[in-house]
């Protein structure tokens, strides 16, 4: 017994000291980051997130194959905390130690044994997953590509060792008479029966040796975990607690000002916490459209590089973490730590953030890095042209701002000028739907529909400017704020109850980001308005009876959770909706978001996201690919052509489908003219 106590105490002291030192160091590194305001607000909601995300393992369970074994392992670890306490009791206290208040109920013995088995099976499953999706063979298609796979195998092995030593010493106990649980502890007793022939003496030695090995394995695991990516078992709950709610996606933060993050400590401490929390699971990478197109960006590798950057500048960060803010000699991140192509490849689609089980906020980090590039004037020429055009004329097309409402001239009526007459709905049309010829046709169809349905709506005419969603996402924060000021002044000069937009990107910033600048009106997307008008019968339709699929725009479906309204529209039109595998909040980006539409699209090694999406739809046997975003209309019409499927799959906007379904008598002559001019 003395030997047990001394060895276990020494092992434990060493383990705790090593792990504690490491955690303290990490805490200092993280504290060196810029302030992240609002991260502790609304504690109750954060507590709720802990329950759903951490204990409930919500995101992990969305992928049952790896999610179920992970959840079982997680719950198993919690249950097996009891065995750790018991092991310590046995080692340090008495051979018949019982947890006070719980004792040795048969149920506990059973559950402990059950989870030992479950965790061992989970470890086996994880091994199979890693072998099947081995990066050495599957290269970029593997979600583990670029992860520290060696470390992962060691982790799995260590978990197995902890489990095996645990059940081993319990089995030996069963033979020495020290095991307090009855036959319900089936696994321990089963193994005990196998060890029984060795005799009591051997089993007694085995009990002590395996118990000490178990304590050693637990401590070894603790030290190992705190020094590896497996740290997430401690940090995930903390990171989730500080993550943005209700979702990790949301209004972009400006924690380092308009100049963005030039060096590692310009990123907020929440970002730094993100990087040490990442488990390298690669779920983000598997969902990233840039990565699948063969671009250099992988959200996982970005996070890993930033973590490497953190550790490489540890000296500076430690001094800053201790409060010495003048200690600053960390290298400039772009291009030293992160290649510029990496940050410019991002479409800000948010798939990575949506997938990440520990709520890492990749998009904010990317935009922070982009801001630093914009501040220094580093960007590609076509983006520079677009930004300059927006600064001068308020639109990315570089057309005169006075031409913004020219598309209305071909309507048979003049939409109300909301600056002159009060209206119920203010239509925020956006650049693409105003200036692009093909998309302006769609705007005319929508205008005709609303006019015939008697909707009281108006426009800002030339007072409208680019809403700035993508301007903000390419990192031109100053220009974004200038656009907001302009649009807010235009709103102030108009009378309306509700805004609706054509463009999901404008919708996103108006709805989520303008309120910080004083906007207090509800914002709708036109799909929501159409759903309402169809439900109320304001637009009478006859069933179309088509088989269609629908593409959720990232900024509607994922960023804003509006997945139902467009589907309601399709149902009202009597269409049979066949879903693509990636739909709703898990939609796949067209590749145009986040300002990518202004940048040259050099093909990567893989297929363009929009083309891969068209193939996904082709497999469904539908003949209409329905979109609800001007940029999607352009991107997918092109992709349908380049893939050669345009004769079998027609890309069509939601509004065109509504127009097609309208009963003949509900069309006024004027609006019918507008519909007739729409592309077939």
């Amino acid at each position: 017994m003395t030997v047990r106590i001394v060895v276990a105490a020494l092992l434990t002291a060493a383990g705790l000291a090593l792990a504690g030192a490491r955690l303290g160091r990490l805490a200092l590194l993280v504290r060196a980051g810029a302030p992240a305001p609002g991260r502790t607000r609304r504690a109750l909601r954060r507590l709720g997130a802990e329950v759903v995300e951490v204990i409930g393992q919500r995101k992990l369970l969305k992928r049952p194959q790896s999610g179920i074994p992970h959840a079982l392992t997680f719950w198993g670890f919690i249950i097996l905390l009891f065995t750790i306490v018991e092991a310590y009791g046995d080692a340090l206290w008495s051979k018949r130690f019982a947890i006070p208040g719980i004792g040795h109920s048969a149920a506990l013995g059973f559950i402990e044994d059950l989870f030992i088995v479950v965790v061992l099976l989970a470890v086996a499953t994880f091994s199979v997953i890693r072998l099947v999706d081995a990066p050495a063979r599957r290269q970029r298609r593997s979600r583990f590509y670029g992860s520290h796979t060696g470390v992962a195998w060691v982790t799995l092995a260590m978990i197995a060792v902890v489990m095996l030593t645990l059940v081993g010493y319990r089995a030996a106990q069963a033979n020495t008479g020290d095991f307090p649980y009855g036959s319900w502890a089936f696994f321990s007793h089963g193994l005990g029966d196998l060890l029984h022939p060795l005799g009591r003496g051997v089993n007694s030695v085995l009990e002590t040796v395996l118990l000490l090995l178990n304590v050693a394995a637990i401590m070894g695991f603790l030290v190992f975990v705190t020094h590896s990516k497996h740290l997430h078992i401690f940090l995930a709950p903390i990171n989730v607690a500080f993550s943005r709610r209700p979702r990790a996606l949301g209004a972009l933060e400006v924690t380092s000002g308009t100049a963005g993050a030039e060096r590692i400590y310009d990123l907020s401490w929440k970002h730094l916490l993100d990087y040490v929390t990442c488990t390298e699971c690669g779920r983000c990478q598997a969902a990233c459209p840039a990565w699948s197109a063969g671009k250099p960006l992988s959200p996982k590798l970005l996070v890993m590089s930033l973590r490497d950057g953190m550790f490489a500048s540890a000296g500076t960060l430690l001094r800053r973490g201790m409060g010495d803010r003048s200690a600053g000699d960390a290298p400039v991140l772009v291009p030293n730590v992160i290649d510029p192509d990496v940050i410019w490849s991002c479409t800000t689609c948010g798939a990575c953030v949506e997938q990440c089980p520990v709520d890492i906020e990749h998009v904010d980090a990317i935009v922070d890095l982009r801001r630093s590039q914009v501040e220094q004037g580093n960007m590609e020429p076509s983006l520079q042209d677009a930004l300059q055009a927006i600064a001068v004329q308020g639109n990315s097309f570089g057309k005169s701002e006075r031409m913004r409402a020219r598309w209305t001239r071909q309507l048979g009526f003049t939409p109300t000028d909301a600056r002159k007459e009060p209206v119920r709905y203010l239509w925020f049309v956006g650049d693409f739907a105003s200036f692009d010829e093909r998309l302006a046709d769609l705007s005319r169809v929508l205008a005709g529909l609303l006019y015939d349905a008697g909707v009281d709506f108006g426009l800002l005419y030339e007072a409208e400017r680019n809403a700035g969603n993508d301007v903000r996402r390419v990192g031109e924060e100053g220009l974004f704020q200038m656009l907001v000021e302009h649009n807010m002044a235009a709103f102030a000069g108009a009378q309306f109850d509700t805004i609706f937009t054509t463009d999901p990107h404008s919708f996103n910033t108006l709805r989520n980001e303008y309120p910080a600048f004083g906007l207090d009106k509800p914002v709708l997307h036109y799909s929501e308005l159409l759903a309402e008008l169809l439900a109320s019968g304001a637009i009478p339709v006859e069933p179309l009876g088509r088989r269609v699929t629908y593409h959720d725009p990232c900024y509607l479906g994922r960023h804003n959770r509006i997945t139902d309204a467009p589907r309601r529209v399709l149902r009202s039109l009597g269409c049979e909706l066949v879903e693509m595998p990636r739909h709703g909040v898990n939609t796949f980006c067209c590749g145009a978001g986040g300002g990518r539409i202004w940048m040259a699209d050099e093909p990567g090694a893989g297929e363009r996201p929009s083309e891969s999406r068209i193939r996904e739809a082709m497999a469904l046997g539908v003949d209409r690919f329905v979109v609800a975003c001007p940029k999607d209309f352009t991107m997918y019409s092109d992709a349908a052509k380049t893939t050669g499927y345009d004769d079998r799959l027609q890309v069509i906007d939601l509004v065109q489908l509504v127009a097609e379904a309208r009963t003949a008598k509900s069309r006024s002559r004027d609006a019918a003219a507008a519909v007739a001019s729409a592309p077939a």
């Binding site: 001068v392 004329q393 005169s400 100053g478």
Partner: protein
């Protein structure tokens, strides 16, 4: 070394230009005015020169609509000072008046290099650099695509017709008309421009009307270009289109037989 870059505002050409009722000027009422793109090139070359060596860079412009924006942007990009010449400046200022106004200020200044755009939408002849050189009685070189200065001399890369580049040497001070800078004009973020705006930085200098000299000429009338015939799109199969092309070429006498 002291470099002066003269910039000016011109109407943004994406706007539809309309003439005033009396037909002597474009209607400036609603026009967006932006910096002449060649002046932007001159500024970029000036900034490159400044970064390459020890130089002070001053931008100067006449008080024309939206010029503050242009001057603030220049300051944000790295100009050391911005001068706005004020006075009785309305309507279109032709290159003679412009040269006289700039020279009246420049002649009281020390300078080694004056850079300005080789031309502008309202000075397609590229008169300004030459006129300015004459007024200041210093040499002038135009169509420069690169300028390097050392020891009171400047080397000027000049692009001639047919893509020939000659390298001239000129004694300073001199006036250079810049066609293109050695690199694309840099982007300056709006937040930097706003910072420049907040810290002031534009010095106003009044120039006297008396210094303008006598009117060299009077503008009688501007005429909007008449719309030329529209392109005709040939539709149909390849064979039909080919036949139609041959027919058209024959009709114009460009192919025989």
């Amino acid at each position: 070394m002291r470099i002066v870059v003269a910039v000016k505002q011109i109407p943004d050409l994406v706007e539809e230009l309309e003439l005033t009722a009396d037909g002597t000027d474009v209607d400036r009422e609603l026009l967006k005015m932006v910096v002449n793109e060649f002046d932007d090139q001159a500024l970029e070359e000036g900034l490159c020169l400044k970064e390459a060596g020890d130089a002070e860079l001053v931008v100067v412009a006449l008080d024309e609509p939206d010029v503050d924006q242009t001057l603030h942007a220049a300051l944000a990009k790295g100009a050391d000072a911005a001068i706005k010449l004020t006075g009785a400046l309305t309507g279109w200022i032709d290159s003679h008046r412009r040269a006289a106004l700039l020279a009246s200020w420049l002649s009281g200044q020390s300078f080694d290099l004056v850079l300005t755009g080789v031309q502008a939408a309202d000075d397609l002849d590229g008169q300004l650099p030459g006129l300015l050189g004459a007024q200041l009685e210093v040499p002038h070189i135009s169509v420069a695509v690169r300028v390097e200065a050392e020891d009171g001399m400047a080397k000027v890369w000049q692009e001639l017709a047919g893509g020939t580049v000659v390298v001239d040497e000129v004694r300073l001070p001199a006036v250079i008309g810049v066609q293109a800078a050695r690199q694309a004009p840099r982007y300056v973020s709006i937040s930097r421009i706003r910072q420049a705006q907040q810290s002031g930085g534009i010095t106003e200098v009044e120039v006297q009307a008396a210094e303008l000299g006598t009117e060299q000429f009077a503008l009688r009338r501007l005429v909007a270009p008449e719309a030329a015939g529209h392109a005709e799109m040939l539709a149909g199969g390849a064979g039909e289109v080919a036949d139609r092309i041959v027919e058209l070429l024959r009709a114009k006498g460009l192919v025989r037989s």
